[in-house]
C-alpha cells in the first residue's frame, strides 16, 4: 500500500479534526479544519484512501507545507 502525506496549505492553528484514524476518505473530503487569518480553513485530501495517522493534534500550530496526516492509498 502506498502512503500519501497530507500537507497544510497555510500557516495556522489546528482548530478541529473532523475525521479519525481508520476513516475512509475520498478525493475532496475534509479531514480537519485549520484556523488562519480569522477563518476556518478546511484541509481536503486530493486522493482516495484511509487515514493512517495524524501528525498534529487540535490546538497545534502548523506552518505552510507541513505534513499533518498520512493516508494509505
Amino acid at each position: 500500500m502506498a502512503e500519501e502525506r497530507v500537507r497544510s496549505e497555510m500557516t495556522g492553528k489546528v482548530w478541529k479534526i473532523v475525521t479519525k484514524v481508520g476513516d475512509k476518505v475520498s478525493d475532496g473530503d475534509e479531514i480537519m479544519i485549520l484556523e488562519s487569518m480569522k477563518m476556518e480553513i478546511p484541509v481536503m485530501v486530493d486522493t482516495d484512501g484511509t487515514i493512517k495517522e495524524f501528525l498534529v493534534g487540535e490546538g497545534d500550530e502548523v506552518t505552510e507545507d507541513q505534513e499533518i496526516a498520512i493516508l494509505e492509498t
Partner: protein
C-alpha cells in the same frame, strides 16, 4: 514521361509522405495508446476540412530525405467548429519530430499564415528537441534564427498547445508561448530531455520530476489541464478556443443561452455563508452566476486561492477573476498573482470583459511570499489590471482589504464597482487591525478587544463605500447575475466595436 507515369510517381511520393515514419514506428505509437500525428489532426478538425501544407518537405540533407517524410511536422489548415485554424502536429515517428531547418520553415509558415489571416494556431507538441547533426556547429546553429519574429507574441491570434509526449526545444518553447496548454499524463515538458540533462549536470533525473504533468499543472502552472488521453487534450483545446474570437480584432462568438441559466444565481445564499469565518467554493458561485454548464476554469490545480475562468453570461464570453476562500482563505499569494496576471493578459488581448468577485483577507504576507517576489508579483498584477481596457465589473462580496482591494479592480479601477450589503472594506481585517493598531488580542482582554473591534469596524460597510461614490451599486446578492449582464450591455465599448486597446498584447507569456 506520360501524365500516367507522372501521376504514378506523384502517388508513390504522396503515399510515402503520408506514411509518416513507416508502419513499424507508427505501430509503436499506437501500442503506447497514443494517436499518431495525422490521427490527431483528424480528431482536431471538422471532418474533411484539413488541407496539408508542406507534404513533400524533407530534411535538407540529401541522404536523409527518404527517412524524413514531411520532415517530422505535419502542418496545414482546417476548421474547428466551422472556424479556420492552422496546425503544427509533431510526428514522433520521423526522427523524434526533432526540429530541423526545413520543418522550422513549415512552423514559420503556419504562424505567419495564422496571424495574417486571423485564425488560431494549434500546436500538437511532441518533440525530442533540435535535430542532430543538422544543427551542430556554427553552420548548423548559425543557420537557425532566420526568423526574427519566431518567438514574438503580439497576441493577434490565440495559440493553443497540447503536450502529448516529450516536448523539448522548440516544442517546449512554443508551449511556453501558448495561451492555453493541455498535457497528456506521461508527457514531459522541459528545456532538454532527461538524457541531455543527466549528462550536463551529472545527476540522474526523473522525467516526471523534470517536467511531468503534476509539476507543470500544480507547481509552475504552465499547464492548464492534465489528461489521460490525446483525445481529451484536443477536446480541451477546442473548448478553450470556443470562448475566444479567432483574432484580436473580433468579438468572441456568442452562444445560445441554455434553459435554466440564472436559476442557481437566485439561490446564491445556498453557497455563500453569511458568517465571514466560514469558507465556501467560489467556483460554485461562478457556476451559479454563469449560463448553465458554461464555465471553463483556467489552471484549476495551480494557485487555487485565485480562480480564473471563462464562462458565458447571456451567451457572451466573460472572464472571471476571483479570490477563492476555499483555498488559503482566499488570500492571494505570488503564484495567484501570476495566475491572475496571465488571465488578464489573455482576456484583454482577445476582448473578453472581466468580472472580479472578491472575498479575500488580502495578499498572503510572510517570508515565503517575499522570497517568491510577492511585491513584484502584486505590482505586475496591478499594472496588468490597470492596463486592461476591456470592460471591468468588480464586486466585493463579503470582504476586501488593503492593496488586494485595489488589485481586484477596486474603486475607479473598474468601470463599475459593486458591493453586496455584506461587504466589509478596509485597510486590513478589523480583527487583525485591533491587534496591530492597539496591541490588544481577544485572548488578552475580550471586553477591550470587542470594544476596539467595534471602533475599527466603523465606516467599513458597503454603504460607506457607496456614500463616497467609490462604489456605484449596493446590490441584493441574488440579483448579481442580472446586474452584471445589464452593466456589460451598458459598457459595450461600441465606439470600438468591443475591441480593447490591446496594451498587454506583448506581455511576457511566463513570469
Amino acid at each position: 514521361m506520360s501524365f500516367d507515369a507522372i501521376l504514378d510517381d506523384y502517388e508513390k511520393r504522396r503515399d510515402h509522405a503520408l506514411g509518416m515514419g513507416g508502419p513499424e514506428r507508427v505501430a509503436k505509437i499506437k501500442a503506447r495508446g497514443s494517436l499518431n500525428a495525422r490521427e490527431r489532426i483528424d480528431y482536431l478538425f471538422d471532418s474533411g476540412t484539413f488541407i496539408e501544407s508542406g507534404l513533400f518537405a524533407t530534411s535538407f540533407i540529401p541522404e536523409a530525405q527518404p527517412s524524413t517524410p514531411t520532415d517530422g511536422k505535419v502542418c496545414g489548415y482546417g476548421r474547428i467548429d466551422g472556424r479556420e485554424a492552422a496546425v503544427v502536429s509533431h510526428d514522433l515517428s520521423v526522427k523524434g519530430a526533432s526540429s530541423s531547418l526545413t520543418n522550422v520553415k513549415k512552423m514559420r509558415h503556419m504562424r505567419e499564415t495564422a496571424i495574417k489571416n486571423g485564425m488560431p494556431l494549434v500546436l500538437l507538441n511532441e518533440s525530442s528537441g533540435a535535430r542532430i547533426p543538422d544543427t551542430m556547429g556554427a553552420v548548423g546553429t548559425g543557420a537557425l534564427g532566420q526568423d526574427n519574429e519566431q518567438f514574438v507574441r503580439r497576441r493577434e491570434v490565440p495559440y493553443a498547445a497540447a503536450v502529448l509526449g516529450p516536448a523539448y526545444g522548440t516544442a517546449c518553447w512554443f508551449t511556453q508561448l501558448s495561451d492555453f496548454v493541455a498535457m497528456r499524463k506521461g508527457g514531459v515538458l522541459a528545456v532538454s530531455s532527461p538524457k541531455v540533462t543527466e549528462i550536463a549536470i551529472k545527476e540522474k533525473v526523473d522525467p516526471e520530476e523534470l517536467g511531468g504533468w503534476k509539476m507543470q499543472s500544480e507547481v509552475t502552472g504552465k499547464v492548464d489541464y492534465a489528461t489521460d488521453t490525446d483525445e481529451e487534450a484536443i477536446d480541451l483545446i477546442k473548448k478553450f478556443l470556443s470562448y475566444l474570437p479567432s483574432h484580436h480584432n473580433q468579438r468572441a462568438p456568442v452562444a445560445a443561452v441554455p434553459s435554466g441559466s440564472g436559476d442557481a444565481a437566485r439561490k446564491i445564499f445556498d453557497i455563500v455563508p453569511a458568517e465571514r469565518q466560514k469558507v465556501y467554493d467560489m467556483r460554485k458561485v461562478v457556476a451559479a452566476l454563469s449560463d448553465t454548464d458554461s464555465v471553463f476554469e483556467m489552471k484549476p490545480r495551480f494557485a487555487r486561492g485565485a480562480t480564473t475562468a471563462f464562462a458565458r453570461m447571456n451567451g457572451s464570453t466573460v472572464g472571471f477573476v476571483c479570490s477563492n476562500p476555499l483555498f488559503k482563505a482566499g488570500a492571494l499569494d505570488p503564484d495567484a498573482c501570476d495566475k491572475v496576471t496571465s488571465f488578464l493578459v489573455l482576456c484583454d488581448s482577445f476582448n473578453i470583459p472581466l468580472v472580479f468577485l472578491t472575498d479575500t483577507p488580502g495578499f498572503l504576507i510572510g517570508l515565503a511570499g517575499e522570497v517568491k517576489k510577492a511585491p513584484g508579483k502584486i505590482m505586475n498584477f496591478m499594472t496588468a489590471m490597470q492596463l486592461c481596457s476591456v470592460p471591468k465589473i468588480s464586486i466585493v462580496m463579503r470582504k476586501s482589504y488593503g492593496q488586494a482591494y485595489l488589485n481586484m479592480a477596486g474603486t475607479r479601477n473598474a468601470d463599475e464597482m459593486l458591493a453586496w450589503p455584506s461587504a466589509d472594506i478596509g485597510f486590513m481585517d478589523p480583527n487583525v487591525a485591533v491587534n496591530v493598531v492597539h496591541g490588544v488580542t481577544y485572548e488578552q482582554d475580550p471586553e477591550k478587544f470587542t470594544q476596539l473591534l467595534d471602533e475599527v469596524s466603523q465606516e467599513s460597510s458597503a454603504y460607506d463605500l457607496a456614500s463616497i461614490f467609490s462604489s456605484q451599486f449596493v446590490i441584493d446578492p441574488r440579483e448579481t447575475r442580472d446586474v452584471i449582464i445589464r452593466l456589460l450591455e451598458v459598457h459595450s465599448r461600441e465606439r470600438t466595436g468591443g475591441i480593447s486597446k490591446h496594451q498587454l498584447c506583448n506581455w511576457p507569456t511566463t513570469y
